[in-house]
């Protein structure tokens, strides 16, 4: 299977060549229109449309190749693992904060009960 770098290098080269031919084709089309050569202009336009189809096909192929590559699968797994680790660590402080708040509430409540008992037995 081609690497991501290979896929992108091929894409870049193909796009550069196609862009050059597209601009060249449209330049010639405009020249044909200037000369009143409508039929020739139509043929050139038809050729340019074919080049644009190829351009989109190259981009789509590179896009799908990258999305379905082993590198992408590895990348997503690594990112998920890093995310899970960070979320787990971040949660520790929150969980402890909740526990401490509960303990503080419990102790405060115990204090109130103690005061009430003292007042009752005094």
């Amino acid at each position: 299977m081609a690497t991501l770098d290979d896929i992108m290098a091929q894409k870049k080269a193909a796009i550069a060549m196609l862009d050059s031919e597209i601009v060249d084709g449209l330049t010639k089309k405009n020249a044909a229109l200037d000369d009143g050569q409508d039929e020739q202009a139509d043929q050139l336009d038809h050729r340019v449309q074919g080049l644009m189809d190829q351009r989109q096909a190259v981009l789509l192929q590179a896009y799908l190749g990258a999305l379905q590559s082993n590198e992408m699968a590895d990348a997503l797994n690594a990112l998920k693992a890093a995310t899970d680790d960070m979320n787990a660590v971040a949660q520790k402080m929150k969980t402890l904060t909740g526990f401490i708040n509960n303990a503080a509430d419990l102790i405060s409540a115990a204090g109130e009960v103690t005061k009430a008992l003292k007042a009752h037995t005094a």
């Binding site: 991501l4 992108m8 894409k11 644009m52 351009r55 989109q56 981009l59 789509l60 590179a62 896009y63 799908l64 990258a66 999305l67 379905q68 590198e71 992408m72 590895d74 990348a75 997503l76 690594a78 990112l79 998920k80 693992a81 890093a82 995310t83 899970d84 680790d85 960070m86 979320n87 660590v89 971040a90 520790k92 402080m93 929150k94 402890l96 904060t97 401490i100 708040n101 303990a103 503080a104 509430d105 102790i107 405060s108 115990a110 204090g111 103690t114």
Partner: protein, 319 residues
């Protein structure tokens, strides 16, 4: 939980704080959201462009119409077509070919993982968590102080010593948890460095494709609008059509100049700068700010360009 020697914890108290990066990490997350939005609105507006193009074609040729069979039943997929198309013709591929739809589905999964990661680094650098923790420790200390005050008669000073012990233990544990957060942040951004490059390269290509497809439809519409213009038109009609075309050129040039690949690459550059800043804040903080600013500008420009809907056809009623 590993208990570190007291002096190491104290040394790292300021140098190794994850909260030093809260603002920058939040900025990175915001720009990731912009890039993600660019993909989503890009696809959405591409659908709109294709639907508009199909409608214009029907208006130009005025064929008899069929209603798509799928309209009779609930949607089986989010992308099945319910609409009209020319009799003896084919339904327009508003959502693109099967391969394009596969690409879109996979890209949305990638974006989901990327956004979760951005949320993860925000979570470990969130200073509000430490503020809430400190407040809880303080409240516990006060509660203990109140309840042990009663013991001062039997054990003098108990009402002071006990709460101070709580405060000290709370600080020690809090600092250790901060260190864990910083270690996790450092592990996380290092582990994510190469994956972020892979994702940036891939999303950049996807955004190039969406932009290319939109540009092609808009350019064709401009071509169709410009071709019939000439001396037979009145000055008023010529002026109006030229104004319409200029509006479309503004959208086309916005797409041409937004450079999707560079916007996605700037995400990888900003993340690299974050890794370097976490490793050595004093030396690399300035570069981090610069890289984040570049990412923010490019992501926003790309999102704005892809979010602009193209109004195809003439600016007349019925088009």
């Amino acid at each position: 939980m590993t208990v570190r020697p007291y002096w190491i914890v104290l040394l790292c108290a300021t140098a190794c704080s994850p909260y030093n990066f809260q603002k920058e990490v939040s900025a990175f997350g915001g720009s990731v959201d912009q890039l993600s939005d660019a993909v989503v609105v890009g696809y959405s507006n591409l659908e709109g462009d294709r639907a508009g193009e199909a409608k214009l074609q029907l208006i130009r040729t005025r064929p008899m119409l069929n209603v798509a069979p799928e309209c009779a039943v609930p949607a089986s997929t989010p992308t099945d077509f319910c609409g009209v198309f020319a009799r003896r013709g084919r339904a327009p591929e508003i959502f693109g070919s099967a391969d394009e739809q596969t690409g879109r589905a996979l890209a949305l999964k990638v974006l989901s993982v990327l956004k979760d990661y951005a949320d993860g680094i925000v979570a470990v650098t969130n200073a509000e968590d430490r503020t809430a923790y400190d407040k809880a420790v303080s409240q516990l200390s006060d509660a203990v102080g109140n309840i042990t005050a009663a013991a001062n008669v039997a054990a003098p000073g108990a009402g002071v010593i006990a709460p101070e012990a709580i405060n000290f233990a709370g600080w020690l544990v809090g600092t250790a948890l901060d260190q864990q957060r910083f270690d996790s942040l450092k592990r996380g951004v290092h582990a994510a460095q190469k994956p972020i490059h892979t994702i940036a390269t891939t999303l950049g290509t996807g955004l190039e494709l969406i932009s290319d497809q939109r540009r092609r439809i808009i350019r064709k519409d401009i071509d169709d609008s410009v071709t019939p213009m000439g001396p037979p038109l009145s000055e008023a009609d010529y002026r109006q059509q030229l104004t319409d075309v200029e509006t479309k050129f503004a959208i086309l040039n916005g797409l041409r100049r937004s450079d999707p690949a560079a916007a996605a690459e700037s995400m990888a550059q900003a993340h690299d700068a974050l890794v370097n800043a976490v490793d050595d804040p004093q030396r690399n903080y300035g570069n981090l700010l610069k890289a984040l600013s570049d990412f923010s500008q490019r992501a926003k420009a790309l999102r704005d360009a892809l979010a602009t809907a193209a109004k195809l056809g003439k600016s007349q009623k019925g088009n």
